[in-house]
Assembly symmetry: C2
Homo-oligomer: 221 residues x 2
DNA sequence: GTCTATAGTGGGATAGAC
DNA sequence: GTCTATCCCACTATAGAC
């Protein structure tokens, strides 16, 4: 993928990514033209297309950086042992890290939503970022005080990642100042999730969960 | 909005929608140009833009038609009284109606995902289609044998609509032949939802649901 | 009020010379 | 690897025919 034959090529490539990130930050996705990116990077339009198949591919670089920042910010969540605290920490740290990009997050999101796009969170190209993100959830579960049936525990990181995607979706659509409503959602959701998972041990609920896990597993295969 | 002064205008307008739908069907969204739509409809490019502000507005017409077809196809679901049967009927009838469009559904979906786009299912412009779709869920609940606390019953149509959106999301990403996996999801999900709602009457679960409804209501306000 | 013809802008993407 | 020149198309604008 990112194997650049010469050092100079790698430098040119990095310069284009830098330029794109700068312009995306200040002007959003749609308003940032490939011409402006090439100009900012000091290369021709053709060169920009030599390194990147299109504007979309430049967004992947943006995502990767956001993911790294989220992972770093989530670190403090693992200081506590209560599952709810850890989960809330991971989810809130995303909101903190992503806040500066909220205004044009939707523009990125639009491209990510295309199933055929490599930018989709479910695409093979996104697998590394997806797994890194799922790992944040796995760590929230594994070091915590949460007691849960092994079968559910195994699926939990993936399910929590899906929940995280749902929160991100809500965040994208949230136009309240400082994304206040998404923060309220997380604050309300986390205790509910925590209690729901613990309720799993009730006999009547347990049967339901087992069947649910069966559906999940059958859809994977 | 769609008030056309003369019969001729209405005919021209309908012709353009028809042409767009035909071309979307055969070639997808991106590949269909406004020029081709105008040609197919036998009008000038300027005329196409006279009636529709752009390509996106043509998609809205497509959605509206799909919604109408779904409503018609869902009618048979209401013959039965068991809630699970009614819900499954509504959900499966969507899959039946939408199947011919699956291949380029994702391209539409990309535009719909932009929060600022009128095509978004949450936009004010989509309110009529959204409410019509929610009504299908309301009818699945209201004529059924389902016994559930009034507070939850009131929110149920909106919550089921959200679930439907989730299924549509899955459907968009589903590349199995005939969307077999989405059909399996619906078949697995419906009994789970049915049982979950009934479990709501358990004292321990009830407290959880009440709190969940509290979160939902606080997010609306 | 409905529609055409035409001309132009901007920007994503590509071809081919160097 | 890099550039220039070009294509294509969404979209706008406008003058005027009917």
């Amino acid at each position: 993928m990112a194997e650049n034959r010469t050092a100079k090529a790698a430098q040119t490539r990095a310069g284009i990514v830098d330029a794109a990130l700068t312009l995306f930050r200040s002007g959003g996705y749609d308003a940032t033209t490939m011409r402006a990116i090439a100009d900012e990077a000091g290369v021709s339009l053709g060169s920009a297309y030599y390194y990147f198949s299109g504007k979309e591919e430049l967004v992947q670089a943006f995502y990767d950086q956001l993911q790294l920042e989220h992972a770093a910010a989530a670190e403090t969540a693992y200081d506590r042992s209560a599952f709810a605290d850890r989960l809330r920490g991971v989810m809130e740290s995303f909101l903190d890290v992503a806040e500066p990009f909220h205004d044009f997050g939707g523009q990125f999101f639009r491209n990510a939503a295309d199933p055929r796009s490599p930018l989709s969170p479910f695409s093979p190209e996104s697998a590394p970022a997806r797994e890194a993100s799922t790992d944040l959830m796995r760590r929230a579960v594994e070091g915590s005080d949460l007691k849960v049936a092994p079968a559910l525990r195994q699926e939990l990181p993936d399910l929590l990642w899906l929940l995280h995607m749902g929160v991100v979706l809500f965040w994208v659509y949230d136009d309240s100042p400082g994304q206040r409503r998404t923060r309220a959602l997380v604050a309300g959701l986390v205790p509910l999730v925590d209690r729901s998972i613990r309720l799993t041990r009730l006999p009547l609920v347990r049967g339901l969960v087992d069947d649910g896990l069966g559906v999940v597993r059958s859809l994977r295969g």
